[in-house]
Symmetry: C2
Subunit: 172 residues, 2 copies
């Protein structure tokens, strides 16, 4: 009886499941993809505000971190950014960015079920840089994407382009 | 034995605990507070880019949603925005905004432990508008704050002011 009561309590305490976290992330990635689509090609690699990086560089940071993160999240073996383990060819068109984006979307979906369920609460040092529980690092990836995408929203607004609705993340 | 095995499996599957989610949110709110502090008073209520709202309005949206959300998250009884159940006096200085911010910080901390552990996975219609599980709504609040704060980062950069570091959310 005692075990059953504990089990019930523990099950109830789930805030978000691994599958829901994946859907949450991919929902945000779907919105970012639509932002890239909406961005004028002639400004994507060059337009900036306030001395910041152009949209292409913000997106590239988000893309590369997601791409390189999965192996470490699963196994604890992290590539080092400085060693440039898996450098992608430099992209020069939005179409190439979207192709990379879709490849990473599939990579995340394929790798996610391999994350051991105990892994989310394990403390690790992602890329040898970011120390904390794995759940914390995954939210860092998501939050960093929201942060940079929102900056691209301002770029778009000043270019007179309506960005996709922030709340619309149903299309994964 | 079977119950014990199930219990162990379920415990392992926790992605983020209610306490960790609270710390995650308050970590973001602490960063937003430092952004407000860094924002020049003379621009806070007026400066805009691309036809968007000034920083004060972006922050006010985030602040009011957090303020009004707790009762509904706990009980399922939501105030209606249109009815203006608990309208705060209009603020005209950063100091007043920071005072409201701190009041809401304490309100969230005080109410959070009252959220029933089963509540996070319950589907509800927050403010009669946002339908989904409670965990989803709480992430909407956090993500919306990250989104608007990042837009204020661009405003600040174009004003020549260095924003607080995005990754620095240790100070809750």
């Amino acid at each position: 009886m005692e075990n059953t009561a504990q089990l019930s309590q523990t099950t109830d305490q789930i805030v978000i499941s691994p599958e829901q976290l994946l859907a949450h992330w991919q929902g945000h990635r779907g919105l970012t993809r639509r932002l890239i689509e909406a961005y004028p090609e002639e400004h994507f690699f060059s337009y900036t505000l306030g001395g910041m990086r152009p949209c292409s560089a913000l997106i590239d940071e988000v893309l590369q971190m997601a791409d390189q993160s999965m192996q470490g999240v699963i196994s604890g073996e992290w590539p080092s950014f400085s060693e440039g383990v898996e450098v992608q060819p430099k992209v020069t068109t939005k179409e190439q960015v979207l192709d990379q984006w879709d490849r990473v979307t599939q990579k995340i979906n394929a790798h996610w079920p391999q994350i051991p369920s105990s892994r989310f609460q394990e403390v690790d040092k992602a890329f040898g840089l970011y120390e904390g529980p794995i759940y914390w690092f995954l939210f860092y990836l998501i939050d960093n994407e929201i942060h940079h995408r929102a900056q691209a929203y301002v770029y778009l607004r000043t270019l007179g382009v309506e960005p996709p609705a922030f709340w619309d993340r149903l299309q994964v």
